[in-house]
């Protein structure tokens, strides 16, 4: 895809998301086939087999008011894979994530240099439709943040704003999304109840449904389980696992065990010369069992960080 494809997904164009889905659909189909043939669930390869980079950052550097927070991050992220971003606090993990859907725009005094390419298109280019970009690159925050509306409206309102005019279509998309996150059975009888009345884990799943209902290509997760209790955290983790193949998932986490279970690829962020940067990246297996960087080795063994 080229830059122009980035602009296809305009707010008023519903089917564009489906077009984009069709592009990623190839790997999803492979995944489905592989599962059908009885390939062991632990064998993740089929789901992100193509190793086709969908998001690429090039020499990405972020400054907050002149202070460099993240320096020179060059990293490909592969389609359909779950990429784990790990590392100690304050070394630019969330900053990296915020660059990918330009949430950095909202922070005053934040300056981004370098490039972020999504399907080859530079998302910081002046002609990019920011709203379409953010629809395509969904985001889940650390603390669940459902809107103070009803459960139903949390999903139908974004759909409506993105041009889904038919009420019945919104309802059916909502139902599908709630089923996708395993919330449907729990809330189907109280869709008009306030979303803030749900438990923390349910709220986080609702937020995930709210992102997925817009049919993004890429899903960014910023420590999605850290505010949840262990059981809710497990449910959300399984859910993220189920996104593999269908979405390109980038997840920031403090929890190494979490990353080890979920991620296909891992990038280790570390503080070097006062700014966060990637000191090691590669397939999760390799980073965890045969780390090349001494700091990574110490980190994954729990001796540092």
């Amino acid at each position: 895809m080229t830059r122009s494809n980035l602009q296809i997904t305009t707010p008023s164009d519903v089917s564009a998301g489906e077009v984009a889905r069709a592009v990623t659909g190839a790997s999803a189909e492979d995944a489905a086939k592989a599962e059908h043939l009885g390939v062991a669930a632990s064998d993740r390869a089929p789901c992100c087999m193509d190793r086709e980079p969908v998001v690429c950052t090039e020499h990405l550097t972020v400054q907050y008011g002149g202070q460099t927070a993240m320096r020179d991050v060059t990293m490909p992220i592969y389609r359909g894979c779950i990429t784990g971003i790990v590392g100690p606090s304050g070394c630019g993990k969330s900053t990296f994530l915020n660059c990918l859907n330009r949430m950095t725009d909202m922070t005053e005094g934040c300056r981004v240099s370098g490039r972020v390419l999504i399907d080859g298109g530079d998302i910081n280019h002046g002609t990019v439709n920011l709203l379409a970009l953010r629809r395509r690159v969904g985001m889940i925050f650390q603390k669940p943040n459902p809107f103070p509306l009803s459960i139903r409206k949390n999903l139908t309102f974004p759909l409506k704003e993105h041009g889904v005019r038919s009420g019945s279509q919104r309802e059916s998309l909502m139902t599908t999304a709630l089923q996708q996150v395993g919330l449907w059975e729990e809330v189907k009888d109280r869709l008009d109840a306030p979303a803030l009345g749900l438990s923390g884990g349910q709220q986080q799943r609702l937020c995930l449904a709210r992102a997925l209902v817009l049919e993004p290509d890429v899903v960014l997760l910023d420590e999605p389980c850290s505010a949840l209790d262990p059981i809710a955290s497990g449910v959300v983790e399984d859910l993220i696992d189920s996104l593999r193949g269908r979405y390109t998932v980038i997840i920031v986490t403090h929890n190494l065990a979490h990353a080890r279970r979920l991620a296909d690829d891992v990038a280790v962020f570390w503080l070097e010369e006062g700014a966060g940067t990637v000191i090691e990246r590669g397939p999760a297996e390799q980073v965890f069992t045969a780390p090349r960087h001494p700091a990574t080795a110490a980190y994954v063994e729990g001796r540092r960080g």
Binding site: P11, L130, L131, R134, N145, F147, H162
Partner: protein, 288 residues
């Protein structure tokens, strides 16, 4: 349970203060009731709404005690002002919170705060010298319901704007970030997320503004013309209940005086009705 003595002292002081606050309100109500009792007893409540006119000086029998035109004047002036001030104030709050660059927003808010601090007699004076003559050039006599509405609008505008703005400012950042991350435009975010989240505060703002519009006396008295009549158009002069009390209290005797306290009572009942109505409208809002 052990309580340090400083805590006990504080508790005692707070209890006293709370008691005083409640006592003052109750005493005012009791005073109003006692003072209006003679008129209610000898004139009867019905005549305050059914008499031919307002000529209260003739005593309980010969006097005429119709408060209705002034009640209508009060309601019309307050309603008109609220209808104008709410959209303006909301627009101002939204501009200040979501659209204005930081520096301009700060200066703008200062100016609105200044507007809130101007004494009502100054508004009235300005209205009398500037606003009423302007209206007179267009539709005589100038001192009119319209002038009253406009003055009240300017006076309650800062209440609506400042309270709505602070309510919008207290909407958690996480809601707004969540909305942005979904690719919602600024206006969608405001309409669909920020306004519903700030609803409670905005509602309170409108309620307080309405209360002030009903209760405001001096400025309206100076511009509204004060003729006791049911206005046929917004260009005709009206007298509000508050203005009536202020105008006549100086020379009112016996039943006349007591009748003025009845109009005070009517004002208070109006406020109580509005507040109850508001909490009834607001009853289902549990999302915030």
């Amino acid at each position: 349970m052990y309580r340090p003595s400083s805590d006990m002292l504080l508790l005692a002081i707070l209890r006293c203060l709370a008691l005083i606050a409640v006592a003052i309100v109750l005493l005012i109500v009791v005073f109003l009731l006692i003072e209006s009792l003679p008129a209610v007893r000898s004139v009867g409540m019905l005549r305050f709404f059914g008499d031919a006119s307002w000529h209260p000086a003739g005593g309980a029998e010969a006097g005429r005690f119709n408060l209705t035109p002034m009640l209508i004047g009060t309601v019309a002036a307050a309603a008109g002002a609220v209808l104008l001030a709410v959209p303006l104030g909301m627009g101002s709050a939204l501009f200040c919170r979501f659209y204005a660059p930081r520096r301009i927003g700060g200066v703008y808010r200062r100016l609105v705060e200044l507007l809130a601090g101007i004494p009502s007699v100054v508004y009235g004076f300005w209205g009398l010298m500037v606003l009423a003559p302007l209206i007179r050039q267009w539709q005589p006599p100038g001192q009119s319901l319209l002038a009253g509405i406009l003055i009240l609008t300017i006076m309650i505008l800062p209440t609506v704007a400042l309270l709505s703005e602070s309510s919008l400012r207290s909407v958690p950042r996480s809601y707004l970030d969540g909305a942005s991350a979904l690719g919602l435009s600024r206006w969608s975010t405001i309409r669909g997320v920020a306004l519903p989240a700030a609803w409670g505060g905005i509602f309170t703002a409108v309620l307080l503004a309405t209360g002030r519009a009903i209760g405001e006396t001096m400025a309206v008295l100076m511009v509204a013309g004060n003729v006791v009549q049911t206005p046929a158009s917004i260009f005709e002069p009206v007298r509000t209940l508050t203005a009536n009390i202020a105008l006549e209290l100086g020379y009112a005797m016996e039943h006349h005086r007591s009748a003025l306290f009845v109009s005070g009572l009517v004002l208070m009942v109006m406020i109580v009705v509005i507040v109850s109505l508001a909490s009834w409208i607001n009853r289902g809002r549990v999302h915030v």
